[in-house]
Symmetry: C2
Subunit: 315 residues, 2 copies
């Protein structure tokens, strides 16, 4: 019999039962009371793990790079888990399956755990579910969790940016540094990787990025290094990983890791609270007691600000 | 002396004073009590105006098309206002200025009002401010308001999709129908325009879009027409406008216009309410009374779900 009790599942996950890990993540994805219980059980232990987010435009080679990083850290003897996050609609969610093929070389390695996450229409839910899923993996004995997203949309950048170290993967000719800035990547990146660096234009992207970083006055004490790689040929993987380790060492030595995590914990609590309030607002707006208010909006005797004010008083 | 009293400004705006219109929109952008007053004053009158949203990838030729539409409706004798919405950061907000140049031919026409809107970091604010700004224009005597966005990000699609008729502008080779679907454009579009249709690939995009529409089971009674245009040469503008008028006639004859507007009014009230609740949540989380809760999150004795639960009880 397959248990659905979070504590039982977590004990099994810690004992190395991979199916139990998957079921815990499914509970997190589904939300509700079970997700809360999983969150409670895994929260403290998750502090022991380190998360690395990878984001970049589709086709930038994130999966290949992630696969290379998995191989590299396995050689270093570490266990590693990968969360592949696709916030696009189920209809176009096929990319995940295609990308996973590149991960198959690690599929039989017992010390590697790979899992895809996709929404079923709840975009906000994924931004909340991903860090919780990462904590499940952490509590299940993976000291390193790589979180790879499929693109550079708002959710993808948010998800990857919520990791301890965020790696932004670009390509020669993919787009200029202005585009990176526009997508919020400059703010999110701790490490830049120019993948497919054997293609024409690598030097230009590298130079543009450095120039953009020069112009960026709010960088703080860490200036994101720009690393070149050709992940498909296994070139530059070590350099990428060393840049991640440098960033980690910087965060740890400055106390910034603890501050970052506290900030993220507060943001997560805030997000859960706001979602709860949103659900209450929706229920109130749709309720019978709001019929008059809805009519007022429709016949334009009540404007949206007034309606919101009335709803606020009744919440 | 420049008045800042909303009622005084609106009277001046109705009398044709363009500066007063601009100041009313500035009040809306700034938010707060003045924005509420403007919303209250303009809400009922706005029902008389019709809004058309235009969205599409950067470079698709939205501004050129908008300018063409302005010229066309002016020939038909209508007054028209344009809101150009750029939710990207001020740092990269230069596109608006460049695009506005294309509008200069209408700058001396007293019956055309053009205004740019950009955030100063408050993305959510723009989604709320734009419909309110459109109502200012409506109440100021513009029976037609075109809302043009600079791209196809979440905010842009949301803003353009909140119009009575939403026009999605594509190009040959810009991207396939799958991309349009991914960006949520298929759901948002009432009219598709293939602009720069003299370029190679126009027929393919046209065919792909129709095939995508064929597959789309939730279309309802209105199937978005696909119209080709070469806006830079003034070709196809009339066809685009006729498609917009057909959609308007469809909405009016079926009663869908009233239903759509009621739905949007409710969504707007809900959004205002949620933003207000968010602000309250932020204040509570940052307050002295939450010091213990913040510490609990930091030293991991309290997980985000528990923290959110405690905050909810205190709100």
């Amino acid at each position: 019999m397959r248990s659905t009790d979070p504590a039982t599942l977590l004990a099994a996950a810690r004992a190395g039962e991979r199916g139990a890990i998957g079921r815990l993540i499914s509970l997190v994805e589904r939300g509700g009371d079970s997700a809360k219980a999983v969150s409670h059980l895994t929260w403290a232990d998750a502090a022991e793990s380190y998360t690395v987010g990878l984001t970049g435009a589709p086709g930038a080679g994130k999966s290949t790079l992630t696969s290379g990083l998995v191989g590299h850290v396995r050689k270093l003897g570490e266990r590693v888990a990968v969360l592949a996050v696709d916030p696009s609609s189920p209809f176009t969610g096929g990319a995940i399956l295609g990308d996973r093929v590149r991960m198959q070389e690690h599929a039989i390695d017992a010390d590697v755990f790979i899992r895809s996450m996709a929404t079923r229409g709840h975009v906000g839910g994924l931004a909340l579910a991903t860090p919780q899923a990462a904590r499940v993996l952490a509590a299940s004995g993976y000291p390193l969790v790589l979180i790879e997203t499929v693109g550079v949309g708002q959710v993808e950048v948010e998800v990857a940016g919520a990791a301890d170290t965020t790696v932004v993967v670009m390509n020669p000719g993919w787009g200029d540094a202005v585009q990176a800035n526009k997508a919020g990547l400059l703010e999110a990146a701790d490490v830049f990787v120019i993948n497919k660096a054997d293609r024409p234009g690598a030097a230009e992207v590298h130079r543009d990025l450095e120039a953009m970083l020069d112009m960026h006055l709010d960088l703080g004490p860490w200036r994101p290094p720009v690393v070149e790689a050709v992940a498909a040929r296994g070139e530059g993987i070590e350099g990428v990983w060393d840049a991640v380790l440098s960033h980690r060492a910087h965060l740890e030595s400055t106390g910034e890791l603890a501050r970052r995590r506290q900030r993220r914990a507060q943001e997560e609590a805030r997000e859960i609270l706001v979602r709860t309030l949103e659900a209450q607002a929706d229920a109130l707006l749709a309720s019978d007691s709001s019929a008059e208010l809805r009519t007022g909006l429709a016949n334009r005797t009540l404007d949206p600000h007034e309606a919101a004010g009335q709803l606020l008083q009744r919440l």
